[in-house]
């Protein structure tokens, strides 16, 4: 097909704008995380660098760019420098098909969802390569953990995306958002949103699933040997991925720019609405990071293979039957409410207040020490009764 | 009052002016008497010398029988299941090993002492009786040069490989304060 010069220029401008949106989103996330976590932890967070600390990510970027770039002598230099690229590029290419408003999109593929899934798998290779090529024990451990975790959490995300595709009869983002005009998919099938969020957390490596970047165990995982600009690329890629999970959640589950106000919104308002929803999901991710400790690797694997994957298959089957035999859509809602609400009710019925129950159980077998009566306050005669006897340097 | 100058050879006691040394008299309270009686029954003739203070009786035992006595204290009537503390004291002419045993069941404390020659101090290891002894012995070996045949590994614990000398001994010089 003949690509005229103007098409090429238009495309490059669009790509450049896309790159800026993604990069600005990631930078704003860096600032938002430190401020929001500060807020949760009762401290102000960065507020000295520029107004409200807004220039803090820029100061970090300048410092990282001007840092000496050290590569360990025993590492395979070529692969060592290829790994950040392999992690960074997929997280940006994925933005090609994300529509920020009805027609604000670079290339609206009709297989948009499938394109996202195909590209986002590539970053696993980058992480493992980074771990292996920097030739340090911690990096290898981090790399293996990353491979195990990301591969096993890829399956639930893919099945959830297929369920959404089935619900909206197409894999095209715009059609998915149009299908949610009346009721967003989070109301239709809340279980899918919960599984998507958990798997998304694991995909991005956020607490409680950040075992490959675990500070206290594997000291930075695959990125332990990187410094300066290369490490900044990994750092940026991680935040871009978080933003991708936020945008995807907004598009697929919260009804993108369509849901509460219908299709007649001007472009700016619909982009703002979508960004609002995306930041809402990102705030949930940061909130989870502040409260939960880290899971152990075998618990993490068990959760993926024993809970998330079977549940997502069941949901997939029920969605398929609903599509084939035209059951009413609320069948899925009842299923997901059954799966989500029942265990919570049973759990709370069992332990009214878990902390109190623990305290009672433990103080039951505690050893009680009873006080002996105090002897009368006898003022011993040879003790000098002045209050402060100075000078005794003993 | 003459400060104990570490440089001066400690062989001859530095002449002391200052008030005469008072020796603390050791009196046992009634609970201490019971424990001392139990200890005497357990040790029998092996106790060369024994006294005590408040509720901690102590007994001096010959170095060779210490392992047997400790085993008897642990398994016997007193049930000393915890080696609370083990230390070495450098009395210039001899090195004294002191073991504080404690029984968590009947809440009694006993102190065993054994004297070792200053030049080649060695005593049987108690690591097979109490697990805690392994690290105490490695530390005593580092700082005082006491040898413990029977301890699994005597690699330096607190000091590093190339450290010459045993800093716990009184003969080891301390850095004087250099005015920078």
């Amino acid at each position: 097909m003949n690509v005229t010069l103007s098409d090429a220029i238009k495309l490059t401008m669009q790509l450049f704008a896309l790159l800026n949106v993604a990069a600005f989103g990631a930078i704003s996330l860096v600032w938002l995380e430190r401020r929001f976590l500060g807020r949760l932890q009762g401290r102000p967070g960065p507020n000295r660098v520029g107004p409200l600390g807004l220039l803090q990510p820029i100061a970090d970027a300048i410092k990282l760019m001007s840092k000496e770039d050290v590569a360990p002598g025993t590492s395979q230099r070529l692969l060592f420098y290829a790994a950040p690229i392999l992690v960074f590029v997929p997280s940006f290419v994925v933005w090609l098909t994300f529509p920020l408003a009805r027609d604000v999109v670079v290339r609206n593929l009709d297989m948009g969802l499938f394109f996202f899934v195909a590209i986002s798998v590539l970053s696993i290779v980058g992480l493992v390569l980074a771990g292996w090529s920097s030739n340090s024990k911690y990096a290898i451990l981090g790399g293996f953990r990353a491979a195990a975790q990301l591969v096993s959490y890829e399956i639930p995300i893919i099945t959830m995306i297929l369920v959404i595709g089935m619900l909206s009869d197409s894999l095209d983002f715009v059609k998915v958002v149009d299908a949610q005009a009346t009721v967003p998919f989070i109301a239709v099938v809340p279980l899918a949103f919960v599984i998507f969020l958990i798997a998304g957390l694991a995909e991005v490596g956020r607490t409680p699933f950040d075992i490959y970047f675990a500070e206290s165990e594997v000291v930075g995982g695959p990125f332990v040997e990187y410094s300066g600009a290369h490490w900044a690329i990994f750092f940026l890629a991680e935040y871009v991925n978080t933003f991708v999970v936020g945008i995807l959640g907004a598009l697929l589950f919260l009804g993108g720019w369509r849901w509460p106000f219908g299709a007649d919104l001007p472009q700016i308002a619909s982009v703002a609405l979508l960004m609002g929803k995306a930041y809402f999901i990102v705030l949930i991710i940061f909130w989870i990071r502040a409260t939960y400790p880290r899971m152990r690797i075998d618990q993490l694997m068990a959760m993926a293979w024993k809970w998330l994957i079977p549940l997502s298959f069941v949901l997939f089957l029920v969605a398929a039957f609903q599509l084939k035999f035209e059951w009413p859509w609320w069948v899925l809602t009842i299923l997901s409410l059954g799966v989500l609400v029942v265990p919570v009710v049973v759990q709370s019925r069992k332990q009214r207040n878990p902390a109190l129950a623990l305290a009672v159980r433990y103080s039951a077998n505690a050893v009680i020490v009873h006080a002996k009566p105090r002897p009368a306050a006898v003022i011993v005669d040879d003790v000098v009764a002045t209050s402060a006897v100075e000078g005794t340097s003993a | 009052m003459t400060a104990q100058d570490p440089q001066a050879a400690p062989a001859e006691k530095p002449v002391r002016h200052g008030p005469p040394i008072v020796i603390a008299e050791e009196v046992l309270n009634e609970r201490g008497e019971e424990t001392a009686a139990q200890l005497a029954r357990t040790l029998g003739p092996l106790a060369l010398e024994s006294a005590g203070r408040e509720d901690n009786p102590w007994a001096r035992v010959d170095a060779k029988e210490l392992h047997a006595v400790a085993k008897e204290c642990r398994d016997g009537e007193m049930g000393m299941d915890m080696l609370n503390l083990m230390l070495a004291v450098d009395w210039i002419d001899r090195i004294q090993m002191i073991y504080v045993l404690y029984s968590t069941t009947n809440n009694r404390k006993v102190i065993l002492k054994a004297d070792l020659p200053a030049d080649a101090p060695a005593i049987d290891s108690l690591s097979d009786l109490w697990e805690a002894a392994t690290w105490y012995e490695r530390e005593a070996h580092d700082l005082f040069g006491v040898d413990f045949p029977g301890n699994r590994d005597m690699s330096p614990l607190l000091l590093y490989e190339g450290f010459e000398g045993h800093p716990g001994l009184k003969s080891y010089p301390l850095n004087d304060y250099e005015e920078w």
Partner: protein, 234 residues
């Protein structure tokens, strides 16, 4: 003691206080070639080759980089002793260091500032040296507390290094045992102003580890990383 900027002989050693030049005592590493490493309190980086070179306009970019560097100092998570507790409470909610963009980071590769918080024991000297060398340039060292500055309350001990500047060059000394969190924050403020002032006469840019250490040794040889350690019998 501003270093005389415009002498161009690179071989002039840094300002090394008089006491370090004496032959006996105080030397820590003896290199195989016989030269010994007595790292002075060399906290003034080498004079730069770029001073007053006609035709070179230096200015805003250095200040921008210095502003970036000083406002995002990442410290290495590395506490030795009691001062580490005060350092942690400085990072925590009450005296929040995150306001200045100072975050603790586990890996030396991504850290800029190494805070020596506590007593430097001889067994710990070598790991400190290795950690210092693994940190990429530009890096700074804060000796927190009197133990790190000069051995502190353990000046008589047989196993304490009398001050971390026996091992690595130090930028900021923080007095106190342990220094209060406000003192540590003041140290960071001084470090930030030092970074900005260094950038003004851009001595910092051509600073590389080996050049600094080479100029500090009396005979200019760079000690190998595993220089044999011999005890100062003092």
């Amino acid at each position: 003691m501003a270093v005389d900027g415009n002498n161009d002989t690179q071989s002039l050693p840094l300002f090394v206080p008089q006491k370090w030049n004496r032959e006996e005592g105080g030397h820590f590493f003896h290199t195989d070639e016989g030269g010994d490493v007595s790292l002075g309190k060399g906290n003034h980086p080498a004079p730069s080759r770029m001073n007053n070179v006609p035709g070179v306009i230096t200015g805003k970019l250095d200040d921008l980089i210095a502003m970036g560097r000083s406002n995002s100092l990442w410290t290495l998570t590395f506490g030795l002793a009691c001062c580490a507790i005060e350092m942690i409470s400085t990072h925590m909610a009450h005296h929040d260091l995150d306001r200045f963009g100072i975050v603790t980071w586990p890996s030396p590769r991504q850290a800029d500032v190494m805070i020596i918080a506590g007593t430097v024991v001889k067994k710990m000297a070598e790991p400190i040296r290795l950690l210092y060398e693994q940190m990429p340039d530009p890096k700074w060292v804060i000796a927190m507390g009197t133990c790190a500055t000069s051995g502190g309350p353990y000046y008589k001990s047989y196993s304490v290094v009398m001050g971390v500047d026996h091992i690595i060059p130090v930028d900021i000394y923080v007095p106190g045992c342990p220094p209060r969190p406000e003192a540590l924050m003041d140290a960071f403020m001084k470090l930030q102003s030092k970074i900005k002032s260094d950038a003004k006469n851009h001595q910092i840019d051509d600073l590389s580890t080996s050049s600094v250490i080479a100029e500090m040794t009396t005979d200019g040889t760079v000690p190998p990383a595993n220089a044999s350690r011999e005890e100062p019998t003092g």
